[in-house]
Amino acid sequence: MLGWGVDFLRAEMNRLLALLFHQGVLDEQFLQLQQLQDESSPNFVSEVITIYFSESEKLLRNLRMLLMDRELSDYKKMEIHLNQMMGSSSSIGAKRVRNVCVAFRAASEQSNHAGCLRALELLEHEYCYLKNKLHELFQIEQQRALASGVRYPAQHD
C-alpha cells in the first residue's frame, strides 16, 4: 500500500513543473509534448525524452572529442552537432539547454577554442540538471499512476 495519495503526488508534480518553468529550464513546448500523450500513445513523453537523452549524450561526447585537440578542432562539425542538439532541445522544451547551444555555436563560429570549452562545460551542466529533474518528474508520475490504480508499464532507464 503506497503512502502517497494521488492528489499529493499530482501537487508534487505540478510544483516541480512550476519550478522548472520558473527557472527557465523548461518552456511551453514541454506542455505541448504532454498534450500529445493520450490513451493511444500513453508513453509518448517518456519515449521522446528517452530518445532525447541518448541523442544528447552522443552529441555531447562528440563535442568533447572535437574539442580535445586545440589545434585541429573541427568547428564545422561542432556546428552540425550543435544544430542537432539545438533542434532537439527546442522541440522538447528544454529552453536553457537550447540557449547554451546558441552561445556555444557563436563561440564555434569565431573558432574560439576557450570559449567553446567553457560553453561545453556549461552545456554538460545544464543537460545534467535537466536530466535529473526530468527523472524526478517521471518518478512522481509513476508513483501517481500506481497510486491511482493504473497499471503503468515498467520503465527502464
Binding site: 513546448q29 509534448l33 500529445l36
Partner: protein, 220 residues
Amino acid sequence: MGMAAAESRFHVLAVDDNIIDRKLIERLLKTSSYQVTTVDSGSKALEFLGLHEDDRSNSVSPSISTNNHHQELEVNLIITDYCMPGMTGYDLLKKIKESSSLRDIPVVIMSSENVPARISRCLEEGAEEFFLKPVRKSDLNRLRPHVMKAVSKDQKQEKHEEEKQEEKEIKSQKHQEQQQQQHQQQLSPRPSGNSKRKAMEENLSPDRTRPRYSDIAAVV
C-alpha cells in the same frame, strides 16, 4: 462503408533528419487523423514518391513499408524540414515542383529559424505554408484546406474522365439495344446489358466518385 472510408485518412509524407522532430511530427499528424510516413532525408522522400533516375519502382528501402507499386501509394501532402544535410527542404521542394507527376502535391516547409528571405523563397517556389519549429497542433489546422483542395481537384478530374467514358458507353449501348429490340420484342433484355446500363445510371450520381477515392485510400 464507402462513405466512412472516404472520410478517413489523408496520407502525409514527413521529411526530417532529426529523430526527435520526426517522432513529434508523426504524433502531431496522427492525432490530427492523418496517415503518416516519415523519412529522414530528401533523397529517401523522392525514392518513396517514386522519383528515381533508375526507375526502380519496386526497390524501396526496408525502412519504408509498402507492398504496393509506388504509384498507388497516394501522398496527399508533403511536410519537410528546411535544414537537412545533402538535399535541403528547398531542394526537395524544387524537385517536386519540377516533376509532372508530383507537382500537384502540396508541400509545407518547416524551419527552426525565422529567416524572411528563406520563407519568401520557399513560398515563391510553390510551398503552401511555412511553419516555424517547434510545430504546434494549431499549425496543422492550416494543412487541411491545402489537402482538401488538391484532393477535390483530383476527384473532379477523375469524375470528368469517368463521365466522358460513361457517355461513350451509354451511346454505344443504346445503339446496340435498339438493334436488339428490333429482333427481340418479347424477350427481356439480356441481364448483363440491363444491369450494366442500370449500374452506369447509378454511377452518374456524384457519390460514386467518393467510393472510388476510398478504394485508393484503403490501399494506402
